[in-house]
Amino acid sequence: MKNNTWTIIKKEFARFFGDRSLMFTTVIMPGLLIYLIYSLMGEGIGKMVTEGQDEVVTMRVENMPEFLAAEIASDSQMVVVNQPFGQEDIDMLADEDLNIVMVRFPKDFELLVNTYDPKCGLPAPNVEIYYNSTNNATSLVYKTLTAFLDSYESGMSNRFDVNRVDDGSTAQFDMATDDSIGAMIWSKLLPMLIVMMLFSGTMAIAPSAIAGEKERGTIATLLVTPMRRNQLALGKIVSLSCIALLSGISSFIGIALSLPKMISGEDVELGFNYTFGDYAAILLVIFATVLIMASVVSLLSALAKDVKSAGTMITPFMLVVMLAGLIPMFQNNTPETFTTYIIPFYNSIEVMTATFAHKIMWSNVVVCLVSNICYTGIAVWGLTRMFNSEKVMFGK
């Protein structure tokens, strides 16, 4: 009778792998979609950052000071026209296609600045820069100009510097390595993404495999065979976990391949250096997570009278899991208390967070694994009771 569980697992696999559209939407599509969407987003962000860098901008300047004229002469992106302008000219800049920036300095700007006393109570000399922020080229010119003027201003009263890097110096003040920055970011981001992907994989198949069988009347056909109800429950949970795991792995591959593209526009190099042990721990925890996810979704699906109401019943549970996924974002250190690692879902999140942060503790991995397997055992018992309950199985 023992191989009845295996017979059920094989049947669930045959149902899933035999249905190309189901397999495509559950396993192939999530990874593919995530890869495409994240890659496109990464490209979009990169484009936003670099767009406008090659375009030439006309800078119409009133009362151009000499120090700026010399600086701008070396910048090929700006063509300076010394020409006064009025309000009508400024209004024209509302047209975002115009690559024009207008700058108005007070007359004798350098003299005014040099003689201005901040304690006199009078307003400081003001530089007006008119541009259009929706035009990337004029935005860039605006940033360049303000950066230059800021450094000109601070250069006039320079008393001290912080973390100055002289030419040719290799001094490093932020001692964090690329690897540790990466570890911090991955540990906050990946546990949530992994849990979300695993959950969506479970949701795609579990309600149909249990509530769907109730709805279609096929579960009753199974219940009149001599198979024990716990064999049916175990077979369902294990097969659903494996399929959900496949879906989760697909999504994870999509994320892993597209993340470098996603962050390509950022000015950081994120190290992704993990050992075999780290990967093994993550895989073990993912499997333990999927087991318990499939268990809870199966229990709720068994309670529901059809697939639609299963979806409604699972939604609050999904929100709780998502919230647990967000916890690493708001904490500095992973907790050390034993009890943390016996709380389902939260334990998986914390173990994954610690592993991605290079702070893995195998004792916690073991506690998480063992407790999740125990919870799965309880879920199998619960599902067995539900399969035995005529009210749950046949209640109208």
Binding site: M1, N3, N4, T7, K11, A14, R15, G18, D19, E213, R216, G217, T218, A220, T221, L222, L223, V224, T225, P226, M227, R228, E390, F394, K396
Partner: protein
């Protein structure tokens, strides 16, 4: 005559929801579906439970097949109690009712193998039995066609075949000809007689008098969950047709109420 089924004091009460109370036109929260039912069936006979809709026939058969549990009483089927050894009972019976469906996605070939495995039928027996049964019911030509693409009649024949993959000693059949086209209905009733010829026991429920007359060796009349009469067809009919006798009994039990 070897007794193969003994039902003793079987009872089942359902709690009615508000909606069900409205449908049943009652204010009572509880409905006694089966009330202290006792009967026996012998090996190699067709035993029919005859009664109107809502009399408790289906509930009785669902209890015998261990899909639901009785509130009181027990039934022993070929040595296995429905309370103490439900798996044992299920290994000895083939249960067929319209509420049991087959997964549309699979083919008859796959389903036959799958259910045979669940019934622990040896592989070589599965092969020969599948060939035999598929040929008997004309399923062989559709063995690799998904259930969803089969005709209604073919689906019904397949359900019958699947319920009998393990060649059970007792076949429990709820309303065997309900919803069947005339050709399939005839195939099914002929097959039931064939099974009886092989020494199998068939317990069926029906409200069709002609079916009882044509098939049943013994009959139990069930009204409002109670077994009012039970015996051979001639004993119960008492010289009348089964239809006339049923209405006479019904009038005795219910008075002039229709």
């Amino acid at each position: 005559m070897e007794e193969i089924l003994r039902v003793e004091g079987l009872s089942k009460t359902f709690t009615l929801s508000k909606k069900q109370q409205k449908i049943e036109r009652t204010t009572l929260r509880k409905k006694v579906a089966v009330d202290n039912l006792s009967f026996t069936a012998n090996r190699g006979e067709i035993f029919g439970l005859l009664g109107p809709n809502g009399a408790g026939k289906t509930t009785t058969l669902r209890m015998l097949s261990t899909l639901i549990k009785p509130d009181a009483g027990d039934a022993v089927l070929d040595g296995c109690s429905i309370i103490g050894d439900p798996e044992g009972v299920r290994s000895k019976i083939g249960f067929l009712t319209s509420e049991l469906k087959l997964e549309d996605f699979f083919t008859p070939n796959y389903l036959f193998d799958f259910f045979s495995r669940l019934h622990q039928v040896p592989e070589d027996v599965v092969r020969t039995r599948k060939e035999l049964m598929f040929a008997r019911f004309g399923i062989d030509k559709f063995a690799e066609v998904k259930v969803q693409n089969l005709s209604t009649g073919m689906k019904q024949k397949l359900s019958l075949v699947i319920s009998l993959v393990h060649d059970p000693e007792v076949i429990i059949f709820d309303e065997p000809t309900n919803g069947l086209d005339v050709l399939t209905a005839r195939t099914v009733t002929d097959y039931l007689q064939e099974l009886r010829g092989e020494g199998k026991t068939i317990i069926l429920s029906t409200h069709i008098f002609s079916l009882v007359e044509r098939l049943c060796d013994r009959v139990g009349i069930i009204i409002d969950g109670k077994l009012t009469h039970c015996g051979t067809l001639s004993e119960v009919c008492d010289g009348m047709t089964i239809e006339d006798r049923f209405f006479e009994i019904y009038k005795e039990v219910k008075g002039d109420e229709q």
